[in-house]
């Protein structure tokens, strides 16, 4: 059936015009016999499971573990990674009745899923009489937030394979390690599954939790071997060894067979060529999904947000007479029971389509699916490959379609499919030594076990460690006595530190009901300023709330359920100061810097925008206290020669306007022509004269006379004038450049667009008052993203130039330098000129 649709598409010129089609041939796999050293109970278990031979990479992993190495396995989705670690662990369990293993999964759902799979396999084995741990019902224990208190003591003492997550290790296990003394004494293996999800802030936290785990295991005399698995990323070796602070042996060659796979990059047709507007990725994806479903092809539809899962589900339901049992949503926020039900439905074919977020991306076992549709690039090559990897069964043909959205990233990919198919996927970056993260975990570590003057902690230098401990002592959290730092506070530090964010402050969202208040969620304190300022419309699980108050003293926002036809958009003002320059380098046309900055953000107001029309209903001023973000940044400063070059080419439009000598007279004529009435709101002039506005910005004309033509002029009241100026504000080349860099950089960094902020200054105070583009990290102190931008500057500039030149739009669109203003004037030309200068060296 899939074959039919593929062949009909391959003969459809309209379809082919908008797509890039890559075929990955089938691979028959590379198998081998069970390794000779494998304990016979484990062998029996495998045989009972119907496994007669192993994949080559599973054998390699076995050998590396047996040689005493830490191992990282980075192979494709569904290549039998779990068996890689289960094999040596079970082997060791069956030989040594005391040995323990700790399995760490990024989510509760995954831990439960893997536990069920392993239990099922072992229950087959328990029927075999030679199995030595047959009698124990407590072999595997899941220890997570859902584990009932009454069951915990038994799991602590009896479980030999403990399945948990980093958060639980952080808040419940390590701070109470004495209750686990026996477990730690006999800890032989630590398994970290799906480590590619431990990147960015989360990964930096997890690396510190592992440092603490090693410290505690060491206290009990255990030095467990680590086995890690990862989806395919560019640096599995680096990430793994940074996570565990030790060397690893990498296994990346998969020996598992796979069927033929079609990977199609699909670009929705252009609706408006001039503005570069294409049909929406979601609508096109829904159309394609319906086409597949009509032919009874099972599929997963990946979309980026939880909200979009529900919206897609509704749209699918309204378009087609689908049975709700056939088409399901899948995202975080669904109960585990419902999720299991959907997963099983996929496995046994009862569920035909699942609309999912990346919650389904992490190795949840759902078997092979015929087709995968991605509505928009999931943000990283690795994620795209992982989602696509869901398509196709071991010996059958599969289909993955990535439907490009209007963002520069998606459009870049469509123009450069090689990037997706031939490049290694992104690096997963972590920075375990991020000062904030480090300090948080030093508190926890000191609580768990006192530091002494000779203690080490990860790769932190002894001087740095001592300085930090001294600071904590001075603060009164630690007490130095007899060369040891003792915890000296009536506090449980792990409870205050979330692994999922860098800062620990959060604002509670309180909804006022007639029958009392209810907390519906939390927002981190920094985001609270722009997400839940008074007057903001906050969306939560289909419901709309109006924010009444935001109290930054008590960290609460009060909300009221409302039925509003608009959403709000904050207006923010950023200023950036340089704290210090860590590295700089001269490049053609300017200077590159990498250093620390202080970003001050202030909410100055917000817009109310109507849902149905996207019209700005109101523009409200509101001043909240500024928030400070100290972080790392990359900045590019154009030198005088470059600016001169641009001015000479007539495209440098940042100089102040000179309207000419005749301007006062022209202005009065136009006011008279317009009856001294604002041509937008109809207000009449009273005391002060109204403004006269250039419809097409003055800067864009070569001569004053042309700009000052009466048909380009209009009378506006000051309020409407400001709005008009905002909407037609010329996106100078600088703005275009910053838009482009900010949106393309994530491709190289394996981060989300929202992990970076961009800012530009025509007259940058910390760069000799030269025009500067600043890209900064949104995480306090940074996790190394901007260092990577600095190191990969040339590639970034080259691909930015390529993107602008390839883009089919006339003068800027969301897919390149940013959307043009209301009158259709963008900054494509200016941006191209700057990039031409910057990219010159690489070509010469």
């Amino acid at each position: 059936m899939l074959k039919n649709i593929l062949s009909s598409w391959s003969s459809d010129p309209d379809f082919l015009k908008n797509c890039y089609w890559q075929v990955e041939q089938e691979y028959s796999g590379c198998f081998d016999d069970f390794p000779p050293g494998l304990a016979s109970p484990v062998k029996t278990t495998l045989q009972k499971m119907g496994i007669r031979s192993l994949y080559a990479h599973q054998i390699k992993c076995w050998e590396a573990v047996k040689a005493g190495n830490n191992v990282a396995i980075s192979t494709t989705t569904a290549s039998g990674k779990s068996l890689c670690y289960n094999l040596p662990v079970l082997d060791s369990m069956s030989r040594d009745p005391n040995s323990r293993a700790l399995y760490i999964f990024p989510t509760k759902a995954l831990a439960q899923d893997q536990q069920q799979n392993l239990n099922r396999a072992l229950s087959l084995a328990t029927q075999s009489s030679e199995f030595s741990f047959r009698s124990s019902d407590h072999l595997i224990g899941v220890y997570d937030g859902d584990t009932p208190q009454s069951k915990r003591p038994e799991i602590r003492t009896k479980a030999r394979l403990l399945f948990t997550n980093p958060d639980m290790l952080h808040t419940a296990i390590l701070p109470h390690h004495t209750l686990w003394a026996e477990f730690f004494q006999h800890l032989r293996y630590v398994v970290l599954d799906e480590v590619h999800s431990y990147r960015g802030v989360f990964g930096s936290h997890v690396a510190n939790v592992i440092r603490r785990l090693k410290r505690i295991s060491g206290f009990y005399g255990a030095h467990p071997q680590k086995i890690l698995t990862s989806a395919t990323i560019a640096n599995p070796n680096e990430l793994s060894s940074r996570l565990i602070g030790e060397e690893v042996t990498l296994i990346s060659q998969s020996g598992s067979p796979r069927g033929k796979k079609n990977f199609i990059l699909y670009n929705p047709p252009l609706l408006n060529e001039e503005l570069g507007i294409r049909a929406s990725a979601v609508s096109e994806s829904i159309r394609l999904a319906s086409e597949l479903l009509a032919r009874n092809i099972q599929l997963i539809f990946f979309t980026r947000s939880r909200r979009s899962v529900e919206m897609t589900l509704r749209r699918m339901a309204s378009n087609h007479s689908l049975n709700p049992e056939d088409t399901r949503g899948y995202r975080s926020g669904y109960t585990p029971r419902v999720r299991r039900q959907i997963e099983n439905g996929l496995k046994n074919g009862e569920v035909k389509a699942v609309i999912a977020t990346n919650a389904l991306e992490l190795g949840v076992d759902i078997g092979g699916i015929d087709a995968v549709i991605m509505a928009g690039y999931p943000g990283t090559i690795a994620a795209a490959r992982q989602q696509a990897g869901r398509a196709g069964r071991r010996f059958e043909e599969g289909l993955a379609i990535l439907v490009a959205s209007n963002s520069p990233l998606d459009q870049y990919l469509f123009q450069n499919p090689a990037f997706l198919f031939e490049n290694p996927p992104e690096k997963a970056l972590i920075n375990p030594d991020n000062l904030l993260v480090l300090l948080h975990h030093l508190r926890c570590a000191a609580f768990e076990l006192p530091f002494d003057e000779n203690s080490l902690y990860g790769s932190v230098s002894p001087e740095m460690l001592n300085d930090l401990l001294a600071i904590l002592a001075q603060e009164g959290i630690l007490y130095l006595s007899g060369g040891k730092y003792y915890w000296m506070a009536d506090q449980y530090p792990a409870n205050k530190i979330s692994l999922r964010t860098a800062t620990s402050d959060s604002v509670s969202l309180v909804v006022q009901h007639e029958d009392g208040n209810k907390i519906i969620g939390q927002v981190d304190a920094t985001s609270a300023h722009w997400m839940v300022h008074p007057g903001a419309v906050y969306l939560h699980e289909w419901d709309t709330y109006l924010v009444k108050t935001l109290d930054l003293e008590t960290n609460t926002a009060t909300l009221k359920a409302s039925n509003l036809d608009y959403y709000t958009e904050p207006r923010l003002q950023n200023t950036i100061e340089c704290i210090n320059v860590i590295k700089d380098s001269q490049v053609t046309g300017g200077t590159n810097n990498f250093g620390e900055v202080l970003v001050t953000t202030q909410l100055i107001g917000y817009k109310q925008i109507q849902w149905s029309t996207n019209i700005v209903l109101n523009n409200t001023d509101l001043l909240l206290p500024p928030t400070n973000l100290r972080t790392t940044a990359f900045w590019l400063t154009l030198n005088q020669d470059t600016t001169n070059h641009l001015l000479n080419l007539g495209v440098w439009r940042s100089a102040p306007n000179n309207y000419g000598n005749l301007w006062p007279r022209i202005r009065d004529q136009i006011r008279k022509r317009d009856h001294y009435q604002c041509q937008v709101c109809g207000e009449f002039e009273e005391q002060r004269p109204f403004h006269v506005h250039h419809k097409i910005p003055f800067k864009l004309f070569a001569r004053q006379e042309l700009a000052n033509q009466p048909d380009n002029l209009i009378t506006l009241c000051p309020k409407c004038h400001r709005a008009a100026e905002l909407s037609v504000r010329v996106r100078s080349g600088l703005a275009g450049l910053s838009h482009l860099l900010r949106h393309l950089a994530p491709i190289f960094l394996m981060c989300d667009v929202s992990d970076l902020g961009a800012h530009m200054e025509y007259n940058c105070p910390f760069a000799n008052h030269q025009p500067t583009v600043i890209i900064y990290e949104q995480v306090p102190a940074g996790i190394g993203l901007c260092r990577e931008i600095f190191n990969n500057y040339e590639i970034l500039v080259a691909s930015a130039l390529q993107r602008v030149k390839e883009c089919a739009c006339m003068d800027g669109c969301p897919a390149c330098v940013g959307p043009a203003g209301a009158d259709g004037l963008g900054a494509k030309e200016e941006t191209t000129v700057i990039l031409d200068v910057l990219a010159k060296t690489q070509q010469d």
Partner: protein, 416 residues
Amino acid sequence: MDSSESLADKLKSLGVHLGLPKNYLPAAKLSHPIEQLFPNGYEEPTSFGEIFVVENTYSPNYQQGNAVLTSETDTLLIQKWAKLSATEPYRQNKFLFLDTETSGLAGGTGTYPFMVGLGYYSEQGFTVVQLFMRSPKDEPALLSSLSRRIEPFEVVVTFNGKSFDIPILNTRHILNGFFSPFKTLEHIDLLHLSRQIWRNRLRDRSLGSLEKEVLQMSRDQLETPGWLVPQIYFDYLKTGDARPLKGVFYHNEIDIISLAALMNYINNMLLYPIAENVKSALDMIALAKVFESLGLIDQAVLCYESGLTQGLPTDHFIHTLLSFAFLYRKRGNWEQAIKLWEKASEYGQPQACIELAKYYEHSQKDYQQAQIWAEQGFAFLSRDKEEHFKNRLLQKDLTHRLNRIKKKTERTSRHA
């Protein structure tokens, strides 16, 4: 990094709330050391360093409130309640009363006891020994002294020690690489027994409240409330000024004495419930339950009877009638049980009617009586305007029962 910027400044600009640096006042250490505060205190040497000890002995039969610290009493019932293995009563000098003062209430490995108070009976009377860490580094010495001092005892007695003091002490032993002596010691936690006995009468069953309400004594102004204790110790570590610790030592000492007094008080209640030892009818019926759980039915019956005759608030009265009836039913004394159920039914108690209906249906096969009682129960239930979940269940059960009884009545009449 900018070398001119200190790490602390950098952290501050990253938004870390470091708090104000607390000032050290080492001078005070010299002017108000702990040794001066307790002239009778002494330093006990151990192989891990010295530990500071304060010891006080109270004369035999010392009176704490309305309880006496007497060393001659039979504790077999409490032992039985705590499920200790011994079948003979321990001699009083085998009990060790223990209470710790800790650096926090959060638990986990970062919480440590800086003071361990011990109380025991000796020939001189009742001795309280307080082991105190002048610095956290004294911990190995404290634990070592504690292990040595524990040796002669068989049973440790605490108030909430099962979930607080003993797990913390076990943790501290593990952290210092020691074997915990508590693993081999029997344990009586009076918190749980106190909760059972005073649950009807006292809302707050903390040691302090029991002291006031049961032992009828009060502490003097030296007393330091428990929640202040960690901060006082931290301040002492920082400033060296031991004076505020006086209140902590007092607090701990009184806790130990009250613990021993409470043990005797409860023991007396169990030994002689009907003598004037049980002050309230509410305590009496709670005690009946304790006896019931211990399998001491005669004592339970006595307590129920005494409670009922002493007079109880109506809800307790009805509840007691039912409990008492169940006890009789369990022992096969239907006659007494029926009396109590009938009494309870006078107060509109549906459960009693159901029990009577059951009795007449199953034991007596008197379906007419059974129907009367079932209908009575139904009437009581529907009179209750509040639609409780439990009521609905009872109603369902009764409907079912009534139908069955009616069927049985028909069948018997047909046979007849």
